[in-house]
Amino acid sequence: MIIRIQKEAIDATEVIRSVRTPEAGAVVTFQGTVRRFSGDTEVSRLYYESYKEMAEKSMKGIADEAVSRFGIIDYTIEHRTGDVNLGEDSVIVSVSAAHREEAFSACKFIIDRIKTETPIWKKDIDVTGKETWRD
């Protein structure tokens, strides 16, 4: 039940390890990665800003709802702030559950809700250095 908003790179191996348990039959992990293209813009990196106190509270509320709705066993959510380079993970959601249906549903539920509710914003920094907020 870990939630972290952090400047450091995401260590997916460690995140997945944190949710594993012999009671689980399924682990589903979503990683959001910085893509080369944002529409027509060729991106060199993204910059993420958060309203940290509210973002942590928001993620906790979403994750708690996923636990009660899908009966998952454990979760870890990490979201980076600051510069995130091309190809790196900006966000990870890893979920363990007895069975795969719940694990998939809960993982998708959590990332979908984070994307619409959690107060984090990003801007593209394109290959020429031009910065554009994506909102």
């Binding site: 959001g32 309203y51 509270k57 900006s90 994307k115 959690t118 107060p119 984090i120 914003w121 907020w133």
Partner: protein, 83 residues
């Protein structure tokens, strides 16, 4: 007595506001709608060209109007785009 309200701006709204935060002093009994009116006068740029702007009071999204308390924290930001 006056209410001190901390207003914080995020994302592109912060750029348009030209500041991360400001303290507004409002008469006791002021409501969220009163705070918004003051902001519209002092920082009209944060509304310019935006379809939607979001407000959160003490880290919760606001639905409806409400009386403010001293030391409340009001956040103002654009559509979220994390992930």
């Amino acid at each position: 007595m006056k209410l001190k309200i901390q207003v914080r701006f995020f994302g592109s709204v912060k750029d348009d506001a030209g500041t991360e935060s400001l303290i507004l002093e409002l008469p006791e009994g002021s409501r969220i709608s009163d705070l918004k009116e003051v902001l519209m006068k002092e920082k009209p740029s944060i509304w310019a060209g935006r379809r939607q702007i979001f407000f959160a009071l003490n880290q919760n999204y606001i639905t409806g109007d409400r009386e403010l308390k001293d030391n409340d924290e009001m956040a103002v930001f654009p559509m979220v785009s994390g992930g």
